[in-house]
Point group: C2
Chain length 304, copies 2
């Protein structure tokens, strides 16, 4: 029987090199679409649109397959897989990019198969030109929600292309520094209001160890971060945050503000697991029951 | 009829000079005990133990009197009032101290009148030697809760004196940077756990624009910050946070964890008003109804 995928994501699949105060790994399975789809898969079948090079390890592919992530759109191209090398200092809040090799991403032309009609689409952090191409292949209003992420590299490097994308998305997940940069406004609340005028009526601002803000029309929600005694590797926290949130939305198919809040809390919960180990290590042993336990914990520690 | 004061605070009353990105004032009524008692007065009668110099303006005294703050222990000594000069950069989270003149504080010997038996005592940010002297004049178990604050200046300058005080307090209000310094531990959760072993079973960590953590025995609560589009002057935010929280505890006389949480939320609410204008300006026009409205707002924006 053919799996139906209510959620689709376009983004990067990468071989990362990561250094944190707690250790160093030269080859970690990474990329925005990898973290996103792995996190989303706890809630809904999800399909990934991405490209890898000939060097892409079979075991990485198996990692995605073990969660039943749809790989029909995972292309293999001549050349090497996208590579990111980053380092975290003692505050762990911001990565310093040491190296970016776009490799196969340079020639990537995402193409959706004819029969694909995702109801939820996520344009993960990748060149806005590629986000735009995927956006144009999706049928509205069949697709109920399109959300995106982006980063300083595209905000500064391709502002016009990004502006086009923003005009047509319903929601954005963006970190605090990038929200300030995009809106040219240091106060985050004002920045979010300004981003809403650029297109997305719903804005989720990820604040790392300080949690997240959600803006939906005039409405507002604050999510504190789940308190951890050890943060091992923050890579992928933002992508798994978005993945869990979008996965939950696709599963419940409810875009009310109350359900958006719950989605964001699931995002915070799954991200809090991601950072406990390197790369996808922690998510690979994660059980749904652990997610639900931490969700209950979350409610206990922030309700009064 | 004589007012009964269930809450007492010892701390500084100051003439501050404050510079923020939004303006500059050379003489602002400040000090830890001033902000604390003003904020507490919205919940309970509160009495202040402090010293001022001969230059202390009559109008500042009237500001305290307008809230029925007990001034029997506000001594006037020869010399000048304690003076603090500080500056905030664009992030508004940390003040840079430009000048501190202890003046009359140098000879201050706090002495409680015989008939005073406060049920709640706050040792605001001041020399731990003075905190200790007040602590020794208070009758236990009549006094149900003693809480304190402190700062890097005392943590580094008088560690032994501070350690003595900590051993005998039930609760501490401390900001994030100072908690890290006191515990010699960068992770805030571990830092709080370590501070609990130094004496106070209840630890409230103030994180400025990122809200607060509350640790009570094994229990834990996170308070996000109330979102403001404009933060005008953060001076006194921490002291009014503690003032409102302690005022609410003294008013309700309930030390359950649920009530401690509510106290902390009231602290966050009143502090969010304090920072809207210079010094005590905003609190002087604050109505109880506004506090209750923002409390309801708070619940709406962080419950899910």
């Amino acid at each position: 029987m053919k799996t139906r995928y209510p959620l689709m994501v376009v983004g990067t699949v990468a071989i990362d090199a990561v250094e944190t105060p707690f250790g160093k790994q030269d080859a970690v399975f990474g990329g925005s679409a990898s973290y996103f789809s792995y996190a989303a898969s706890f809630f809904t079948p999800v399909e990934l649109i991405a490209v890898v090079g000939e060097d892409f390890p079979k075991e990485y592919r198996r990692i995605l397959e073990e969660r039943s992530i749809g790989l029909d759109h995972l292309m293999t191209a001549k050349g090497k897989t996208f590579h990111w090398k980053g380092k975290y200092g003692s505050d762990l809040n911001a990565a310093q990019t040491l190296e970016t090799q776009l490799n196969v991403l340079l020639e990537f032309k995402p193409k959706l198969k004819e029969d694909r009609e995702p109801e939820y689409l996520f344009l993960a952090n990748i060149d806005p030109v590629l986000q735009w191409e995927v956006l144009n292949q999706v049928k509205r209003p069949k697709c109920r929600l399109v959300a995106c992420d982006t980063m300083n590299f595209w905000i500064e490097g391709k502002p016009a292309e990004l502006a086009k994308v923003l005009k047509r998305v319903d929601m954005i997940f963006i970190n605090d520094g990038e929200a300030r940069l995009l809106a040219k406004e240091s106060n985050l609340i004002k920045a979010a209001r300004k981003i809403q005028t650029m297109g997305p009526g719903t804005v989720a601002i990820k604040k790392g160890e300080h949690g997240a803000f959600l803006f939906h029309g005039e409405q507002f929600f604050i999510l504190p971060v789940y308190p951890l005694e050890e943060v091992f590797d923050p890579t992928g926290a933002g992508d798994s945050f978005a993945g869990a949130a979008m996965g939950y939305l696709a599963k419940t198919d409810d875009l009310s503000f109350d359900n958006l809040k719950r989605a964001i809390v699931y995002g915070g919960v799954v991200a809090s697991f991601t950072v406990e180990k390197f790369g996808l290590e922690r998510l690979r042993t994660l059980e749904t029951s652990e997610i639900e336990e931490r969700m209950a914990d979350f409610r206990r520690i922030c309700h009064f």
